[in-house]
Assembly symmetry: D2
């Protein structure tokens, strides 16, 4: 007979350790402190610990209890950032799962910022924010935060190809081709920046969103009247970009903005364009450390 | 004690009839005869019948059995169209579920057609095809087939707004604005045409794909070398379209192509653009009959 | 030259009216008044009007403007329900689109309610809430609200089949089979109730969630310690249900709870089980009016 | 003026190398040779190379051309496995992108195998198969293949907790509790095995599917008549498993089946249960090498 029904604490038959055991897709409202007041995020959270080779199961209800406790506390005392929230959860997880040597929490949520259109019309734009902490019993800890931004990019290659077609048809167009942006395909682009936050440092999500959004051909806006729409189209065509350019510009701005971060700081940047001329997407990605980028 | 465990045949406690009861998301390889040979579709199928108020449950395994039988037969004797397949299934469903007065089968699958790029390069393009039959015990039957096409559309309004900006900056540009297409936002567009196939008529899916694809600013292509890419960009900008235009052009071509179809023929057309300048989509839709359109 | 770049106001070439034209997937934080305080919903909103046959395009930026205005006002003066919000938006849409004779707004959002486990442990459970209004220029208006609840259902048929197997193996088990619930397959179930709110009536979303959740074999809970988990398992097996039963029980409770609603009131109920013994789902559905149900 | 419009070959302004640049979501029918004949897979393919720091863009149309060529050849001469297909593509990619030092191809597709229910009824069951190759200019190459299996698992912990409840209610039940499986929650489970195929070795996908499917509480079946359904329920309850057990059993069988594979062979196993008693999922995972598992 199993004592107290604790099947999890039995010895495992197949004695392999497990990298991650936990719950995924837990939904919770989280209250965070923002420069302009308190905001409630509708977060989706994954919570894991590792499992040693000799224990049959992980006590998964503890993962959800820890989530509930930390999130409930956020209502009374809002957290300052997702890295604070995930970091606190990871530490408590290691206490509650006495057999674990590793804990991990992943979180993501919709997020809104007020933006202005080219002609100054305000609107609330939607972003996705992410946080992640990995924590080891030996005290090592890695905290990450990230943002996903939907924007617009216009292809520089097709623009050049169209110019070449025009030149062949009518060489006298050369002057006009130098002054006016030429037609090309443009499309919805989804770019993400995920970076480590060194323990003694702070990173503001709004800054990260600025970095990504300013690296696209143009931001997108919810409300565009005719004069605004023209400006967004002109701006994006004066600023054509490959997904490769987007990733490199983000990397460059990150290095510039976080100059004092150590070489070990990890960073992942991805830009994916939902190509208007193809049924498939175009993607560029860099996964690396600040040290590698500084070489 | 329930005889043979037939809980379904028990009397229902709450005596309401049910509109549809069945299985969803059944995956099956279906062999269909195409002009160029046999093709295997990886289909996703939903199968329903109605349920009278006095019966507790529907015998759902019969739905999957009928699916299996008809699909297996397709391997030996390929079906000629999705409407043939769903129609046959609906009739057998009414026989097997002796208590049912209505049966319905929905099917969808990826589909491929060879297309040529503007410069003549061939590639296999991906589409989605759909079929649906609704069958009544009194003999009434409605069969539908449909297609979903991913293509490109370029906005005519932003093009006009950009022209107006250019005119203000430099009125001498007027000549050039009349000859060269002007920049605008363009994007991935997803358009669907679903229409009834009157019992004595035939509709070829490839024709429906042609109708939808030719109603967009431009088709999209998997492989575009530089000269091709320029042509697709120019073609789409010489042919700017609202989602409203796309839906109306499809409706017009459908009426033209299927002149002899009765007024009662139902048709649904939808066009959705994944706007490059917004984070949201633009959608236009018409749900109607041929008779309404002919007025 | 097009005046003010108003391409939308041009005459359409293909003169078909359109059923719905608008924007989909607009994301907005909406503040609603709840019995226990103000809550911020992260809503996804679709906004449409119809388009007459002689007008080329709909002014879609007006849809997003109306959304922004009404939602912004909700921050200062929280709305009392989703039907109030969508209803107000629909009316303004008809004013702003002077050519439209129909407007429609669809909204959905995650929603949280505190629930207690069988042993009394509190947790915040996640639901999905929906709202929809259809508004006609002639004054007709239909408002709907809805809820989606994830719960558990246990199959009564497999339970009976297992009993029959046991009886054959050992007829002396009959006594025990009468007292203890027998094993069966159980699974995650997703049930929705969408109903019309007659103009002079009120419907509370929390009541609708109660109706759906109490019609399943058991609610599900985020945190279940061992004693709780046993109770949820026992409760669901003492209360085995087909998806057909779930739909009928919801219909019955709706009729009971909203006795004074007119016969014309529309209602849609759907229950889908993600079957543990199959790779496909089982679904039951009823789309009808209160009048039909009362017959 | 850019020569031939080759914007990609320009020098990059921001001189960072990129880890992966390419196309995602290319859909293609691929013909593969199976023990029982030729099968057409509807594959989704991602194709990448890296990009040196001094080159502005990657020539993405080459990725799609290589895909087309290799897949077209599969129609005339079917490939024997996904690892053969992705491996060949990776090699050609490095030739075509003369600047690349790394290439990667990811592929996945629906797949069907005939299975028998407990009572011997045949049905075609649906699986997901995956392939991946990573190829370096220095000749290093890593090939992976994988499978995703949907099955059923029953929770051993809740079963024990229910037994304890029964014992307290009636100690005389002890005998019956030893002989009959007790009720518990069970649910749809999605488990994946992805493993490296050492260059001189072969791995058969069907074997991998067998390994995963036999590690669950029970396989699932499309068609189950009453006697079959009872057997599936009994079998799963006689074989209750945590997701942790599923992962470990797969690892154990993999080591046993591929005894002669080198210690460096990589393997990833994941099992996710769509919990019937919760709104969230339970997940266990191990990412490791054969060498680590053999310790």
């Amino acid at each position: 007979m199993i004592k107290n029904g604790d099947v999890q604490n039995q010895r495992a038959e197949q004695r392999f350790k497990l990298t991650r055991v936990g719950v995924t897709g837990v939904k919770k409202p989280v209250v965070v402190e923002r420069p302009w007041g308190r905001v409630t995020l509708n977060a989706t959270i994954d919570v894991y610990v590792d499992l040693p080779s000799d224990q049959k199961g992980s006590h998964m209800s503890r993962n959800v209890e820890v989530t509930g406790e930390v999130v409930d506390r956020s209502v009374r005392k809002p957290v300052r950032g997702l890295e604070e929230l995930t970091s606190e959860m990871c530490e408590i997880l290691l206490e509650r799962h006495e057999y674990a040597s590793y804990s991990e929490v992943d979180i993501s949520a919709d997020y809104f910022l007020e933006r202005k259109s080219p002609k100054g019309r305000p609107s609330l734009e939607n972003y996705r924010i992410m946080g992640k902490t990995e924590c080891y019993k030996n005290g090592d800890k890695r905290r990450y935060i990230g943002v996903e931004v939907v924007g617009m990019n216009a292809c520089p290659c097709a623009m050049e190809s169209v110019k070449n077609v025009y030149r062949k048809i009518n060489p006298q167009l050369e002057d006009i081709l130098e002054t006016l942006p030429v037609i090309t395909h443009n499309q919805r682009n989804r770019s993400t920046l995920m970076m480590e936050v060194p323990l003694e440092k702070k990173v503001e999500l709004n800054d990260m969103i600025d970095i990504v959004e300013s690296s696209l051909s143009s931001p997108t806006h919810e409300i565009l009247k005719r004069d605004d729409e023209a400006q967004v189209v002109i701006r994006s065509h004066e600023n054509p970009k490959f997904v490769e350019d987007v990733v490199r510009d983000i990397l460059s701005k990150v290095l510039q903005r976080y100059k004092d971060f150590p070489d070990s700081t990890r960073v992942e940047v991805k830009s994916e364009s939902e190509e208007s001329i193809h049924k498939h997407n175009a993607l560029a990605e860099r996964i690396t450390t600040f040290g590698e980028l500084r070489k």
